[in-house]
Subunit: 198 residues, 2 copies
């Protein structure tokens, strides 16, 4: 049976960007469906009273270096967006708005936003940057930004974030196959073994 | 030039146990020297005001499962020691006492303690268990336990723990090649690429 992977991520999560090539390869190799689910991870962090390590802390400095090495290992171009972390709420709402009509287009949007943020270092909390990304995809940036003010779109992001929290998500990226959870871009190997039933 | 890997670990660190097979393979494949350096990680956690996730928390439950999966992936037998985490101070002091005279024997000790703890689930904070491990290695358990009360041995463990903290260690296992730091059993692939100069 074809496995379905639930892929919870936040547009401001550098390790979610790092995960993309390996995840795509896995999905291809095993004909998996990947359900992309952007969330507002900050809401979960707040509920858990968790803060990611500060950039100027011992752990923060290490993690930043690790992200850069991991991106290189994944064959990705990498540039820290300025500022970082950035508010990813608008990008996530746009995703869910597009997804209502066309999930494939929404995934194109997600890939393009990740590339603009972490591949090119652009600020994807900035409406002008997002409009530019939309235009490059042949989408109407103005329409998308307006849609992020719809209650239904806001509600969708809240709902998926709540669902993630209920399932035990505490960081990103997090993958599920059924109830089996895998956290981190560095757990795709284990996810793959699980799918192969090793 | 032959690379030297500084390997900082705590005997109570499950991921340090998980790292052992892959680290041994890497050292063999690249003729690296590995300098084993047990530390008292709890001292560093205390200084950083950090606590590992509680076993009954959302993250704790995930991490425990991840350790089990990671051990299986590494081809290791695995059983949680009771209690866990356990006080690893005595095992670490014994290491440094043996290492004064014979580093290879100290490494045998480290492997045997890890196997007793995480391979067999035995309580390596218990002097009787440690005496048994010593006997199996042809060592005098009584002598080793007495040595852990020596100021010089205590001082050695403190010193190496302080050295680790100064170098930026905040978890275990942590590896260094020169100043380049790699944290986690899941970073040995990157450590290897660094050594190969990829």
């Amino acid at each position: 049976m074809q496995a379905t992977i639930d892929f919870y991520f936040d547009f401001s999560s550098s390790y979610s960007y790092v995960a993309l090539p390996r995840l795509a390869r896995l999905a291809d190799d095993h004909s998996c469906q990947v359900d992309w689910k952007p969330i507002a991870l900050g809401v979960i962090f707040k509920a858990m009273n968790h803060a990611p390590p500060a950039a100027d802390s011992t752990k923060g400095r290490y993690v930043w270096r690790d992200v850069e090495r991991s991106a290189a290992l994944a064959g990705l171009s990498f540039k820290w967006p300025q500022p970082f972390p950035f508010n990813s709420m608008t990008a996530a709402r746009v995703f869910w708005y597009i997804a209502e009509g066309d999930m494939d287009r929404a995934i194109d949007w997600a890939r393009a936003v990740f590339h603009a943020s972490f591949g090119e270092g652009r600020d994807c909390s900035d409406p002008d940057v997002l409009t530019g990304v939309a235009t490059d995809l042949g989408l109407d940036g103005q329409e998308l930004l307006e849609a992020t003010r719809n209650d239904a779109v806001k509600e969708k992001l809240k709902h998926v974030t709540g669902e993630a929290m209920k399932r035990g998500v505490f960081g990103a990226p997090t993958f599920f196959v059924g109830d089996e959870m895998f956290w981190g871009s560095d757990r795709i190997e284990q996810l793959e073994r699980h799918i192969r039933n090793d």
